[in-house]
Symmetry: C2
């Protein structure tokens, strides 16, 4: 990305635009981008205005010309994350083959975002939404509109579409939060205690001890797929129930 900046600067020069006085000027987008990569690399707790400023070669207070404060910055990161899904041509480009295909693509799109930014995704779940009837992770008006359009165009009644929104968001939140908490967890001090990890006196817990290998397996992908399939089955029922009424 540092290379990108250099390239961009050169291109700007060739195009006859302003040569950067010292480095490229700050703007809201650069601040938000830097915040996201900082969270990706150092974790949410490692983000402070001062540190973020210094990675941008700038004093902390400079950031306040572009974001209103830390809270608003975090909201902007969330917005940026969900907005990045618009560039996902599998969702916005390809024609849709039925509502099940549509929900599959949406679900996988959100999952891609979550897995690309495991340390940042919890923000999508925990920041308050701008209206109480918006639910993470589909928390922007744009995505809710897309969601409702996708379903009502495919024969869902209004009530069924709303019910589907609720079920879909609950599903995504539960699965993705658990998955990113696995993948985003900082690998411990890399202790050699790995082999001795069944030591810690699982003596009172015979079933846990016996099933620990199974519990430790990474089944996140198939678990997601199967639960999604099951949800779609349920929504099939919801849809036809509301139609017959």
């Amino acid at each position: 990305m540092a290379d990108d900046d250099v390239v961009d600067a050169d291109a700007a020069l060739v195009a006859g635009q302003k040569p950067p006085s010292h480095t490229e000027r700050l703007n809201r987008e650069r601040v938000v981008d830097a915040a996201l990569t900082h969270i990706d690399e150092q974790g949410l707790a490692g983000l402070s205005m001062r540190r973020l400023g210094s990675t941008l070669g700038v004093e902390a207070m400079a950031l306040y010309r572009h974001v209103a404060g830390k809270e608003e910055l975090l909201d902007a990161v969330v917005e940026h994350l969900m907005a990045s899904m618009w560039r996902d041509e599998e969702i916005t480009q390809e024609p849709v083959h039925g509502w099940q295909d549509f929900l599959q693509r949406l679900a996988h799109g959100v999952r891609r975002v979550a897995l690309a930014h495991p340390k940042a995704f919890p923000l999508v779940a925990s920041r308050p939404t701008e209206a109480p009837w918006l639910r993470p992770p589909l928390r922007s008006l744009d995505w809710v509109e897309v969601f409702l359009r996708g379903l009502t165009e495919e024969g869902f009644t209004d009530e069924a579409a709303v019910a589907a929104y609720r079920a879909f968001t609950s599903f995504l939140l539960g699965h993705l939060l658990l998955e990113v908490s696995l993948r985003g967890a900082d690998v411990g001090p890399l202790d050699v205690l790995e082999p001795a990890d069944d030591d810690a006196s699982l003596d009172g817990f015979p079933l846990v001890r016996r099933l620990r290998p199974g519990l430790s397996e990474d089944r996140a992908s198939v678990e997601f797929e199967e639960s999604l399939e099951s949800l779609l089955d349920r929504l099939t029922l919801v849809r036809t129930e509301h139609l017959e009424r």
Copy 2:
């Protein structure tokens, strides 16, 4: 609870024990309890060691004799929350009528805890578990053992019980996090702007505008019930599939 303290002190006097020098002595339980009620009342962000100390009539540093630090205190609050479910006689007392009854009681028990402490419950979801194969909200060895025992005793194979654990935790996390974020949200400045809440230019979002009444309804309870029912149906399949194999 302040009354309780007085009563306890009097009882202690009658029983011939130490009269409290000034107020009751501090101990870990009082600290954790106070932290929980502080979070319930002021929200997680409003909790600081100094403020918590002063509600206990004590200097901030006194807390460090009883908890190792703020992080450990939050972990203790989470532990306390989930441990409080043991006193739920509907879970631990009554005999179980089949695994579906068992899971229903467990689910409702966790939900009761979540709804009783909407501001604190997100901690149950966000604090790291002590092992990567433990998943919120059933994140203690005790509860996982109970869970696995309840299912294996009812004819689940080891693999099916593990699959059920994954599905059950995802379900609870998604639904309860969304529900408490509704009920725990600080009611805004109580603006009179309530009636004008469809104002904010929903013009680009016709479907959202049309379905907003439906989206605003509080369907949390029936949504929970229906999703739980659907999950139990799915687990019925999982169970018999693994048996036939």
